[in-house]
C-alpha cells in the first residue's frame, strides 16, 4: 500500500488548467523531487495534496483513505504537513510557541480541562513543551526560543517553519522550496539536514526545489512539471539527460544542442 496515491488529478480555474493528469504513487520512506519552471503548477499540486484546493477531477489517496475534499486541518491531522514557499510564520509569537502550535492538532484534553488546569492537561502541556524544545534543538534554534518569529533572519525562519511542520507529527512532509535564498554552504547543510530528518522521524518527503544541486543530490526520484503537465519521471541522471526537460527549462535550442 502506498502512502500517497494520486489518480489523474486535474486543477482547473475557470478556463485555465493549472494541473493536468498528475499521477503519483509514493512508497513510505521515499524522497521525491518535484521540479519545473516557475508557474508550472508545483505549488498548486501541493495545495491539492494538502486540501487547500479541491481537485476538479481525480482522486487522492493517503494510505487507503480518499482525502480530496477533506478540510486542510483534517488532512494535517491525518499526517500530511507542509512548509510554504513564502514563509508563513506566526510573526508576533515566540519561536517556541510557533512550534507548539504545530503540536496542537493532536491534543487530547478538552478546552475546559485546559482552562481548569486539569492534571492530565498539564501533563500534555509538559510533553508538548519537551517535544517542541527537542524539535528546536534539531533545527538549532533552541537558543532563540523566546524571540519573536518575525525577528529572525531569513534562513532561520525557514528552519523554524520546518520545525513547526514537524511538530504536527507528520508521516508525509511536503517542502516547498526550502533552499530558496540560501548560499551554497547553506544549501549543502540543508541537504544533510533533510536526510537526517527523514531518518530520524521516518518521513516520506516530497520536495519542490529550483536548486538542482539539492534536488539531484538527495532525491531518489524526480517528477518534472511544465504548464501543469508531467513531462518526465525518473531517476536524477535520467532526468538530467531528458531532452523534454532541457527544452522546458532552457528552451528548444538548448535541447537540440544537447541532444
Amino acid at each position: 500500500m502506498s502512502i500517497l496515491k494520486t489518480d489523474s488529478i486535474y486543477m482547473q480555474f475557470g478556463g485555465l488548467t493549472a494541473v493536468s493528469n498528475f499521477n503519483l504513487k509514493l512508497k513510505e520512506g521515499e524522497l521525491v523531487g518535484l521540479i519545473g519552471p516557475n508557474g508550472a503548477g508545483k505549488t498548486t499540486i501541493f495545495n491539492m495534496l494538502t486540501g487547500i484546493y479541491k481537485p476538479t477531477k481525480g482522486k487522492i489517496y493517503y494510505y487507503d483513505q480518499k482525502i480530496n475534499g477533506l478540510g486542510v486541518d483534517k488532512i494535517t491531522s491525518l499526517g500530511i504537513a507542509r512548509t510554504f514557499q513564502n514563509i508563513r510564520l506566526f510573526s508576533n509569537m515566540t519561536v517556541l510557541d510557533n512550534v507548539k502550535v504545530g503540536a496542537h492538532v493532536h491534543i487530547k484534553s478538552h478546552v475546559w480541562k485546559a482552562i481548569m488546569h486539569w492534571p492530565s492537561y498539564l501533563q500534555e502541556e509538559n510533553s508538548i513543551d519537551e517535544r517542541s524544545m527537542e524539535l528546536l534543538k534539531v533545527v538549532h534554534l533552541e537558543d532563540l526560543k523566546d524571540s519573536l518569529a518575525g525577528s529572525l533572519p531569513y534562513g532561520e525562519q525557514r528552519r523554524l517553519e520546518i520545525a513547526r511542520a514537524l511538530a504536527t507529527n507528520p508521516k508525509l512532509l511536503l517542502l516547498d522550496e526550502p533552499a530558496a535564498g540560501m548560499n551554497p554552504q547553506e544549501s549543502s547543510d540543508l541537504m544533510e539536514f533533510i536526510l537526517d530528518m527523514q531518518n530520524k522521524f521516518k518521513l516520506t518527503i516530497i520536495l519542490i526545489e529550483h536548486d538542482m544541486k539539492v534536488v539531484m543530490g538527495i532525491c531518489k526520484r524526480i517528477l518534472v512539471i511544465d504548464y501543469g503537465k508531467t513531462i518526465a519521471k525518473g531517476k536524477p541522471l535520467e532526468i538530467q539527460h531528458n531532452p523534454e526537460v532541457i527544452k522546458a527549462y532552457l528552451g528548444v535550442e538548448a535541447a537540440t544542442n544537447y541532444a
Binding site: D73, F84, L89, F90, M93, K100, V111, A114, I128
Partner: protein, 354 residues
C-alpha cells in the same frame, strides 16, 4: 519545569486574590456609595473588556457586536430574577408572556443562565462569520447587535419594548462584580496561555498557516465567540442590576465603542493592559461627567456642555489609534516573572554567569 512555574504563580495569584477580598471588606465598610458604584463599574468594564479582547485581540476577529451579547445577558437575567409583581408593574401595556411572567429565580441562577444564553447567541453570531475578514466581519457583527436591539425594541410581550425595565433590584455589589471579574480574568488567562490559546493567536497571525498546521478554524473561532459572549452576558447582567433601569438602547453601539476604546488603549492581546485601561476609562467616564455639568470657576458660571464627554472620548481613541498604536501594553502581559526580572536584574546576571 512548567509545573513548578505554575505552582509558584498559583501561590502568588492566591495572595492577590486574598488582598482583593480584604480590600472589598474594607471598602464596603468605609467608602461612600459613589465610590462603590465606580468600583463596581470598574469591575464590570474589566469583565467586558477582557471578554472582548479574547475575540478581537487574541483571536484577531474584529467583532463589533459585544453590546448585543450584553443586552441578551441583561434581559435574560432580569427576566429571571424579577419578581412576578415587579414584572406586572413593568409590563403594563403588554403583559409578559408565560412562563416568563411567573419565573422567579435567585440571582446566581439567573446569572448562569444569562451567561449560557449569551454564549449560545455568541455561537450563532460567530459561526456564520467563519469566512469573513476584517471590515466585513465588523459589519456583520455590528449588524447582529443592531438586529438584537431592534428586535428587543419591538417584542413588547417579552422585553417590554422601548419602555424597558425599571426598578430592577440591585444585586450587584462589590463581591459579585469583582468576583466575576476575577473569574473572567482567570478563565481567559488560562485559556490564552494554553495550547488552545496558542491556536487562537495563530489564527490571528496567519489563518491559512494555522489551518495548514491542523487548527480547525470553525471550532476555535467559535470558541472565542462563545467564551467572549458568555462573559459579556454576565457583564451585561451585572450592569443591569447596577443601574436598575435598562432599555434596548442602553446596549447601543456607543457601549461597544467604549469597550473598543478600552481594548485598544490597553493593547489588543494583553489582559493586563485591558484591566488597567478598563479601570482608567471607568473612572474617566465618571470624572468627565463633571465636564457636562455646570461649573463655577472663579465666580464665572460655565454652563454644562452636553456631549463633551463623548467628544473627549473620541479624541482619546483617535489619539491612541494614531499615536500609540500598540496601546498601553501592546501584547505583553504582566507576569510575576517579569516583575522579578525588573526588580532584581542583578540576580539574573549572576545566574547567567554560571
Amino acid at each position: 519545569m512548567i509545573r513548578k512555574k505554575m505552582k509558584n504563580n498559583n501561590k502568588l495569584n492566591c495572595i492577590v486574590i486574598l488582598l482583593i477580598i480584604i480590600s472589598i471588606f474594607f471598602v464596603e465598610r468605609n467608602f461612600d456609595a459613589y465610590i462603590i458604584r465606580i468600583l463596581n463599574l470598574c469591575a464590570i468594564y474589566i469583565i467586558l473588556g477582557v471578554s472582548l479582547n479574547l475575540i478581537n485581540g487574541f483571536t484577531g476577529q474584529f467583532s463589533l457586536g459585544h453590546a448585543g451579547f450584553m443586552a441578551i445577558g441583561a434581559y435574560t437575567s432580569a427576566l429571571l430574577y424579577m419578581s412576578p409583581e415587579l414584572k406586572e408593574v413593568n409590563y403594563f401595556i403588554t403583559p409578559l408572556i408565560w412562563p416568563l411572567s411567573v419565573i422567579h429565580l435567585p440571582f446566581v441562577f439567573s446569572l448562569i443562565i444569562a451567561g449560557l444564553v449569551s454564549a449560545g447567541v455568541g455561537f450563532l453570531v460567530g459561526a456564520p462569520c467563519l469566512r469573513l475578514k476584517g471590515d466585513y466581519l465588523a459589519i456583520v457583527t455590528f449588524g447582529f447587535a443592531e438586529i438584537i436591539r431592534v428586535v428587543f425594541n419591538n417584542l413588547q410581550s417579552v422585553t417590554n419594548g422601548p419602555i424597558g425595565l425599571k426598578g430592577l433590584p440591585t444585586y450587584t455589589n462589590l463581591w459579585w462584580s469583582w468576583g466575576i471579574a476575577v473569574l473572567t480574568v482567570l478563565v481567559v488567562k488560562n485559556l490564552v496561555n494554553s495550547s488552545y490559546g496558542r491556536a487562537l493567536k495563530s489564527i490571528r497571525e496567519n489563518e491559512s498557516a494555522a489551518e495548514a498546521m491542523g487548527i480547525n478554524l470553525f471550532f476555535h473561532k467559535s470558541l472565542a465567540f462563545v467564551v467572549g459572549a458568555f462573559f459579556a452576558g454576565l457583564g451585561g447582567a451585572l450592569l443591569a442590576s447596577l443601574v436598575m433601569t435598562i432599555d434596548p438602547n442602553t446596549f447601543s453601539f456607543l457601549l461597544t465603542f467604549q469597550l473598543i476604546v478600552i481594548v485598544i488603549v490597553g493593547g489588543l492581546g494583553s489582559i493586563t493592559g485591558t484591566i488597567i485601561s478598563a479601570t482608567i476609562i471607568a473612572v474617566l467616564m465618571e470624572l468627565l461627567r463633571a465636564v457636562e455639568a455646570p461649573m463655577n470657576i472663579f465666580g464665572l458660571h460655565i454652563p454644562g456642555i452636553p456631549g463633551m464627554r463623548m467628544l473627549i472620548f473620541s479624541i482619546l481613541l483617535m489619539s491612541v489609534v494614531l499615536f500609540f498604536k500598540k496601546g498601553l501594553m501592546g501584547n505583553k502581559e504582566w507576569s510575576w516573572e517579569g516583575l522579578f526580572k525588573k526588580l532584581f536584574p542583578r540576580q539574573r546576571e549572576i545566574k547567567e554567569g554560571d
